[in-house]
Point group: C2
Chain length 142, copies 2
């Protein structure tokens, strides 16, 4: 079902400062910046590797407001890893299979993610404390 680690989603307070850090210290480059109003985040995607099945990324996330999922995460836990995104071929089919197995879903249907992907979150309570995202890259699957 999972064909790669698509990205690590990292919550931060200041996107511009964190981009500067990852660019200067780890020599990475921002390939895309987006605002996702639905998820309440301003984000940047830094590419780590381009693999045959799709690239891997660091996704830096700054909340648009304190009363958003990432804003509440920062208040509760501070900066750090917010979620892990795994690449799948067909996010809708994966959701159906996971639901069938009793995994608690945050999203019952796929929604819009970064870089035109179709994504869905699984509830961390069902995945050993890990907020887990399934990512069907734009152009992948059907």
């Amino acid at each position: 079902m999972l064909d790669r680690i698509d990205h690590v989603g990292i919550a931060c307070r200041n996107l511009t400062a964190k981009i500067a850090f990852y660019e200067s210290v780890f020599d990475l480059t921002v390939m895309s910046r987006e605002v996702n109003e639905e998820q309440g985040v301003r984000e940047a995607m830094l590419r780590i590797a381009a693999a045959p099945g799709g690239s891997s990324w660091i996704q830096l996330l700054e909340p648009l407001a304190p009363d958003t999922p990432v804003g509440r995460f920062l208040a509760r836990r501070g900066e750090g890893v917010h979620h892990i995104g795994y690449g799948v071929d067909d996010v809708a089919a994966s959701l159906a299979a996971l639901h069938e197995q009793g995994v608690r879903l945050v999203d019952e249907r796929p929604r819009h993610g970064s870089l035109g992907a179709s994504i869905a979150f699984l509830h961390p309570k069902s995945v050993g404390g890990v907020l887990t995202e399934l990512v069907q890259a734009a152009g992948a699957g059907h």
Copy 2:
């Protein structure tokens, strides 16, 4: 410097149960089990993808005792993502370059990691709350 997301390290209370979960729900397979006395963990590596630069893994970690880094993490934060490991070509050279840039290191010299890798940790306070591991896979680099 970073050539791939090598692994996501996930802290758990019961390694056997967590392996069963990842195998049955996500259809992954344990490729290796190890006890690392130095790090105070019992661990399993589940391969997600084999990429040209090296594979990507989920690393499940159960502490050998409460008074270990992963044991203290579980007591403080509960189960979840413990660290992120990035692939590098030469861990010693990367450490030197990061030290030069003022990044705080947990390990000043490489030590033994999973699957025969040479690894080193960077301090989360220097990397925006993310405990960050550099991984030079066995046979990579020099």
